[in-house]
């Protein structure tokens, strides 16, 4: 069972995504949701662009977005299973949830790649 099932792998993504999102997303919200709009910090466009071009920043953002998306996908899958009691549609749900996370991850890489 353990070797055949993907559940341990999906749970690892869920777990890592949950920890990272809970620790880091509040910081991002504080910085870009409050500090910058309210004028507590004044990073220039050029400054942020340089920061974003750095490979470490890109790897960090890809990891944060990908894992958070897989966390959401896993949680949403079980919410649909148990909340709406539609476990019999599990194949469709899996494709939609994890497929959505994969699409989102590819989009993240694409957008970061496109930054000049």
């Amino acid at each position: 069972m353990t070797k055949k099932s993907l559940e341990p792998f999906l749970w690892t993504l869920f777990s890592a995504g949950g920890v990272l999102a809970a620790l880091l997303i509040p910081i991002h919200l504080l910085l870009f949701g409050l500090a910058v709009p309210l004028g507590w910090a004044y990073p220039s466009y050029e400054h942020l662009l340089v920061l974003l071009r750095h490979p470490v920043t890109r790897v960090y953002l890809v990891l944060l977005c990908t894992l958070a998306l897989f966390h959401g996908a896993h949680r949403f899958r079980y919410t649909l299973y148990d909340g709406l009691q539609i476990k019999h549609l599990n194949e469709v749900i899996n494709v939609l949830c994890y497929g959505g996370a994969i699409v989102g991850s590819v989009l993240t890489v694409y957008l970061l790649w496109r930054i000049p």
């Binding site: 069972m1 353990t2 070797k3 099932s5 559940e7 341990p8 792998f9 749970w11 690892t12 777990s15 079980y78 148990d82 009691q85």
Partner: protein, 247 residues
């Protein structure tokens, strides 16, 4: 404060009823009375036909678990005055079939409990002459909180996953398996693994956390399950990296 309180008690007498109904009783509401005292008062003085389980009255035997105002509680540890002026609704534990009144059918839990082998398993027993299996206080702390479980099944009544998926092994049985897995004297972790790492085992849990909230002995079954998930996930990765001989 009024010195009486109203109890709405769930009744189910399968020989005369097809589904449970409620019956209203007035009982004294003394400061030192718990819900179980009120039930005993009803049984002794008002209505001898009321059926429920109880034994020790002190949170050890785990037999008086019921649903009090919608929450799974040990009725011997739930004070009436906390629900004053009432009424207090007393129902059988949720997620279990009802045998009669407040008595639930618990054989599903008993069967699952045995399946996880909650006892010390040794590959090789050392002879008595070599003495005890010694344990440091740190080794004891590893599993001690999980050993506090009294099998009261409140966590099963609280668990929405168990309510939807009766094959789920459930919080207490997994916590008790962990109680032995984490015991330095035990060597049975591998024997328990197939059952625990099945989709009806730890992977059935969606980490709602209600089991931990409901536990009257402050055991943390949700933590036991999450810890075991991490262990099972690591061994899953190992089985890919070292296909032969990995545990």
């Amino acid at each position: 404060m009024s010195d009486t309180i109203t109890l709405h008690v769930a009744r189910y007498r399968p020989e005369v009823e097809t589904e449970p109904t409620f019956q209203e009783y007035q009982t004294p509401c003394r400061k030192d009375w718990v819900v179980l005292d009120a039930l005993n008062y009803i049984k002794d003085k008002v209505d001898g036909t009321l059926s429920y389980r109880w034994s020790c009255r002190m949170g050890i035997c785990g037999s008086c678990g019921m649903t009090v105002n919608g929450e799974p509680k040990l009725t011997c540890a739930t004070f009436l005055t906390d629900y004053a002026p009432g009424p207090v609704r007393v129902e059988p534990l949720r997620n279990f079939p009802i045998v009669r009144d407040l008595v639930i059918e618990m054989s599903d839990f008993m069967r699952k409990l045995v399946q996880v082998k909650p006892w010390i398993i040794r590959a090789d027993e050392k002879p008595l002459s070599e003495g005890e299996y010694l344990q440091t206080p740190e080794e004891l702390d590893e599993y001690k909180q999980f050993s506090m479980c009294i099998n009261c099944m409140l966590c099963y009544a609280a668990c929405p996953v168990y309510g939807l998926e009766p094959h789920f092994i459930g919080p207490a049985a997994i916590a008790l398996a962990q109680r032995y897995n984490l015991d330095s004297r035990d060597q049975g972790a591998r024997e328990r693994m197939d059952l625990l790492s099945d989709h009806t085992g730890i992977w059935g849990c969606t980490f709602v956390g209600e089991c931990t909230k409901a536990c009257p002995k402050s055991v943390d079954p949700a933590a036991a399950i999450q810890r075991y998930k991490l262990k099972a996930a690591l061994s899953w990765f190992k089985s890919f990296l070292l296909p032969r001989g990995a545990s």
